[in-house]
């Protein structure tokens, strides 16, 4: 993390125009950061991972005069005191990468609160521009902000902006260039009262290290007195002996002043920013707007759980139906609208993509006439097959992340977390876990990336282990095909049962892990609830698009390589000879070895290895299960291919459950690793899903047999 500065070069490659100015944007979540970034850069952004993490950073270019400005949209933070992966990324950027200018955003509708972050940044950075966002909203709520006055008091340029009105953007760019080219600003000095003697003493001792630390020594001194772990780590490397001195000082202050320095500093800084805000803001004739009424409703103790649950359910059923046709097709056909159900079945996103890819392949086939068989197979089955599996994911991720972006951007997500916290607590999870959990039904990769917002480390680890058991849409596609092979009523019951089982398992495991593994105490919640506002369609669209693009690039690569590997495994014999007959391949041999393991699920006999074969491929991504089945049975239609396996109803149901639970996918496992940096957690998640899936599938198989014998 510390030497992330190295990686910057590799982090922003491939731009035709080299930026002459780097500007980091920092602000609260919900402050209107994405909207402003979007307006400044015209939506042309590149997403990249922060080195060594999965924290997404957006980079965008803007030509302004002769300058090419690169804007770096840092993840939203409430303060520089924030820990965890997000806080670390922001501090690394500010302290070690040092952008040319830092742009801090202050929410025009809540200056009192958000100005504090600008004050914190002005204390550390020497080139700061402050933008006040949502001036239009502030105006309509009767809030008048004296930007001039704030600017004078802070000694920094303060520019009022409104993306909706297109106000202040030009002025903001001018201010940025001006500050970049001008002399460095004097870091803001807040008088810390009784702490001043300590701050000064420590600061003067740190002064010789200033060049190597690269930050003003006064700020470092204040942070050391607070006990900021991130700053302690940096100082520990450069001036270790001062670390102990700072710690002794901290203890001494607590003893003599009777108050902890951390609290004293926070208090002084808040007082400073509050008086700054109150001196420069006038509120007149506050009216309750429509969003504010909705605001109250979403926090109402009786209404809010229903509103939250209904909203989440509706959004996801809509996304599911759009993507896979399920469950809208079942609802329609059970209501007697058979024709409408068929339309939904054949015109959902997954079906359309499949047809499109099938069409593309059929166009390519004649072009490869006369080429060697292995080359044809490599291109058609390996490469095209691999790309199409990765592409199939894209619309699923897109719709889900668009919905999530709307929930986040509007401020609804924290309210849902709040109002459902009492319910999630019953299974040992906090309201924070709701958002990641719900997202996991869309896509595990996206869902697990949202886990980092949970404040308790123990709970985060637990979530990485149990959430992958929630079936994503990719798995849904597979067990929908299995369900269709079982038959309509029992099939639908099977799908519902699979969901019920996986949710129950998550709840049970959460409880069990609390007891024996993470040993966490009760789930905690500590969360800012921002004001509600109408989400900008452009922002939702852009967020969804950039997430999808990023997914295609990162996870898509893994899936593609995985698909290629399965092609190799299923196209070569153990003696490494190309074979057009998959039943002679390495994978087939491996499957035959593994077949006995699946006897407890009733998967036995001649064709048993074909069923297992798909499961091996499913390690990489679950959709591959169906395509590999198509390859091996030679039957294109997935439902017919499943029927060809001639499995009993009990085995099919058990298989559905197994597919829903065992190893989420390679992408998910790699995300668990990158988020936790722990091989142990990633492997535990892998083993846990395998064991749970296997045992549950056996249970389902026998349960169904017993049920049959009774009826």
């Amino acid at each position: 993390m510390i030497n992330a500065a190295h990686h910057h070069g590799t982090n922003s490659p491939g731009e035709k125009e080299r930026p002459t100015l780097r500007v980091g944007i920092i602000g609260f979540p919900n402050v209107g950061k994405s909207a402003l970034f979007n307006s400044l850069t015209g939506g042309e952004a590149r997403v990249a991972n922060w080195p060594g993490t999965t924290v997404d950073i957006h980079y965008g270019l803007k030509k302004f005069g002769r300058k090419v400005i690169e804007f770096v949209d840092l993840p939203g933070v409430y303060s520089l005191g924030e820990g965890g992966p997000i806080g670390d990324v922001v501090k690394t950027y500010l302290l070690l990468q040092r952008p040319d200018v830092v742009l801090v955003l202050v929410d025009g509708t809540n200056v009192e609160r958000t100005l504090n972050l600008a004050v914190q940044v002005a204390e550390v950075s020497e080139r700061v521009v402050v933008a006040i966002t949502k001036v239009d909203l502030a105006h309509s709520r009767g809030i008048h902000i004296n930007a001039e006055g704030l600017s004078r008091a802070l000694g920094r340029r303060v520019v009022p902006t409104s993306v909706t009105w297109g106000l202040g953007l030009e002025e903001l760019l001018m201010a940025i260039v001006e500050v970049a080219e001008g002399e460095g600003q004097v870091p803001l000095k807040i008088n810390y009262g009784p702490l001043e003697p300590y701050v000064r003493e420590l600061s003067s001792k740190l002064e010789p290290f200033e060049p190597s630390l690269g930050v003003n020594s006064r700020w470092v001194a204040v942070k050391l007195l607070e006990g900021d772990p991130f700053v302690e780590k940096i100082v520990g490397e450069k001036a270790g002996e001062l670390l102990n001195e700072a710690r002794e000082m901290r203890a001494e202050i607590s003893k003599t002043l009777g108050k902890e320095p951390l609290g004293l500093i926070a208090e002084t800084r808040f007082r400073y920013s509050l008086s700054l805000a109150s001196g420069n803001i006038v509120r007149s004739g506050l009216r309750l707007s429509r969003t504010e009424r909705l605001d109250r409703m979403t926090l109402d103790p009786r209404l809010s759980p229903f509103i939250s649950a209904a909203a989440i359910l509706t959004l996801f059923l809509f996304a599911f139906s759009l993507n896979t046709g399920f469950p809208l097709n079942v609802v329609l056909s059970s209501l007697g609208f058979e024709q409408a159900a068929t339309i939904v079945d054949s015109y959902n996103v997954a079906a359309l993509m499949e047809r499109f890819i099938g069409y593309g392949t059929s166009l390519l086939e004649p072009l490869l006439e006369g080429r060697p068989a292995w080359l044809r197979s490599l291109l058609l089955d390996g490469v095209i097959g691999g790309i199409s599996v990765a592409l199939l994911f894209a619309p699923l991720i897109f719709t889900v992340s668009a919905f999530l972006a709307v929930l986040e951007d509007s401020g609804l997500a924290p309210r849902f977390a709040y109002s459902l916290h009492p319910y999630t607590c019953r299974v040992g999870l906090s309201g924070h876990s709701l958002f990641p959990a719900v997202s996991c039904f869309g896509c595990n990769v996206g869902g697990l990336m949202a886990v980092r917002g949970t404040p308790s480390l123990a709970e985060r680890v637990k979530l990485y282990l149990i959430l992958p058991l929630l079936p994503c849409q990719a798995r849904l596609i597979v067990f929908l095909a299995l369900a269709a092979a079982v038959g309509s009523v029992l099939g639908v019951l099977g799908v519902v049962m699979t969901y019920v089982i996986s949710v129950t398992l998550v709840a049970v495991l959460s409880y069990v892990l609390d007891r024996f593994y993470t040993r966490s105490s009760r789930p905690i919640m500590l969360m800012d609830i921002p004001n509600l506002h109408m989400p900008l369609r452009r922002v939702a669209w852009w967020m969804a698009w950039s997430t999808t693009r990023h997914f295609l690039y990162r996870t898509g690569t893994i899936i593609f390589l995985g698909a290629l590997l399965t092609w190799v495994l299923s196209s070569f014999t153990p003696s490494l000879q190309y074979t057009p007959d998959p039943s002679e391949s390495i994978a087939a041999h491996l499957s035959r070895v593994l077949v006995p393991l699946f006897a407890p699920l009733g998967i036995e006999g001649e064709k048993a290895w074909m069923t297992v074969y798909g499961l091996i491929a499913g390690f990489v991504a679950k959709e591959i299960y169906l395509s590999s089945l198509a390859v091996i049975t030679g039957i294109e239609n997935p439902i017919e291919a499943v029927s060809f396996l001639s499995l009993s109803e009990a085995s099919l149901l058990a298989l559905m459950v197994f597919i829903a639970l065992y190893v989420p996918c390679l992408g998910t496992i790699s995300v668990i690793y990158t988020e936790t940096r722990s091989v142990r957690v990633a492997l535990t998640a892998l083993v846990l899903s395998l064991v749970t899936g296997y045992l549950t599938a056996i249970a389902v198989y026998h349960f169904y047999l017993i049920l049959l014998s009774i009826l």
Partner: protein, 69 residues
Amino acid sequence: MIIKGTDLDEELRFRLYYMGLYPGSKVQIVRNDGRYPVLVEAHGSLIALSADIAEKVYAERVVEREGDQ
């Protein structure tokens, strides 16, 4: 209410103080019904604290004077 202090561990204390709930901070309890997390208003923002966090934050009731914010 005025916050007096807290028993929370370092990481959570950082978060809490930086959210505006530091010792000496004047806050208003918006809702505390024992079922939902406690809703607190501090310096214009709304903060939700679950019971076990709120339990460890000590506050003292103050009599509001006329004209006090």
